[in-house]
């Protein structure tokens, strides 16, 4: 149950903000400091949340922050927990989750490529989906896809 999970987290971590979103069953959103992510992920993993669903990133350009979102799922409780943390946009660095889940590699590689977030301790942040990409990572809000497409693809070379 959602309440059980909330109690569990509250009992072990004091400085986390827990939100149970409206209209959404079986979801718990928690916000933590970026240093705490690995610790809390490890705790949740030991308590049944063994499936790393996804890792993603949201670019809050007005605040100057990147928000990393980790989705964990428990096959026993059947609840999704989203761990959110905000990191600095100018120097985006975060500790890797590789020691906990091997498959974090795939997601971290993608975020590195699409947002330019650097994951400390991840050795394989090589180009993934894009090839020979130069300039700002494409998923950032200040990258204008429409303009890029117009310049690059809408006209012939002179």
């Amino acid at each position: 149950m959602v309440e059980g999970v909330v109690e569990l987290i509250k009992g072990n971590f004091s400085d986390v903000e827990i939100v149970i979103p409206e209209h959404q069953e079986k979801r718990v959103h928690i916000s933590v400091e970026k240093e705490k992510v690995k610790e809390i992920a490890k705790f949740l993993k030991d308590n049944g949340f063994r499936h790393l669903s996804f890792i993603t990133c949201v670019d809050w350009i007005d605040e100057g922050k990147f928000e990393l979102v980790y989705g964990l799922y428990s096959y026993e409780e059947k609840i999704v927990v989203l761990i959110k943390t905000k990191i600095d946009r100018d120097n985006p660095k975060q500790e890797t989750l590789l020691p906990l889940w091997d498959q974090a590699q795939t997601y971290e590689r993608e975020i590195h490529e699409m947002f330019g977030v650097y994951f400390d301790g991840n050795p394989g942040l090589t180009p993934f989906i894009l090839e020979d990409w130069e300039g700002i990572p494409p998923m950032r809000k200040d990258f204008d896809s429409r303009k890029y497409s117009q310049i690059t693809y809408d006209s012939e070379a002179k």
Partner: protein, 365 residues
Amino acid sequence: MKTYELFIGPQHVGITGNFSVILELEGNVVKKATPNPGFLHRGFEKLMEMRGFIHNVPIVCRICVPDPDPNEANYAMAVEKLLGIEPPPRAKYIRTIVLEFSRIASHLFTFGGHAGSIGLYTIPNWTISDRDFILDLFEMLTGGRVYHIFIYPGGVRRDLPDGFIEKAKDVLNYLEKRLDDYNKLYFDSYMFKKRARGIGIINKEDAIEWGVTGPNLRASGVKADTRKDDPYAAYGELDFEIPVLTGGDAYDRIMIRRMEVVESIKIIRQALDNIPDGPIREKVPNPMRFIVPPGDAYVKVESSKGEYGYYMVSNGKDKPYRVYIRGASMTHGIHILEKLLPGNYLADVSQIMFSLDVCPPEIDR
């Protein structure tokens, strides 16, 4: 022994789409596999940030080509969650019917692909042409064969046309009959068992740890299905089983899909029989000013490949602030392939990919 490099794809018959795996081989045995995705990258997540909430409906279905409807359902559900509305019951049933037909169509495609990869070309011809009957149904219902643009936020686009229920039942009866034919040639075939048994085994613990989802997870012995665990559409009201096998090899991964086709037929029959009357669409904001209150939501459905999730963030404007799409093949196609392929023969590489049902557009988006 000397190793050499072999490219499987992107231009290769044994690849599940536009995708590439670079193999390091020692003789006939794979030593290292490096999947190289990105050939189908269109930047959907970026495109969706540039389009209004209602303008995104036609493009989301393009994300996974063989099984497009989970995308539409996911997108609609995410918007509904943020708006705080529920679709009417009739719309939920119609969604269930469409989703399950889409699952059968996708599984038939997988059977064809896998049978082709072990050299049995009769099965692709049969399954893919039988899949066409489902596409005909879709054409009747939505007007499109492959992309349906049918599941809207708040409901569905059209009601069932006249004669649809009878025609759908005919197709189901026909498919059920055809499954016996496939059995004779494919599922019960001695050669199929000989080729597929014991190939690419994922055991139960690894399956959970590596993030395997969907039919591939159930083939490894974990009873987990979003349709039961986190019911959406009308699945909570219908009676169906979750088939589970324990082998975790290519054979079981194909057989579990065969069992799922039977369950899907059962689900559609129930949905067709019990479909309630009523409206098909909940009131949504004016399409010209489709504003969604700020918030974020993670929704997921069980697609034919596995857990298919959308994480949507809205900042109260008329466009989504960010949409993240979690395709099931993201793990299956990259991480699991890296783990599974080493140690196998070159001859089984394509078979393993098809049995995992890797769908490259989901990875690249």
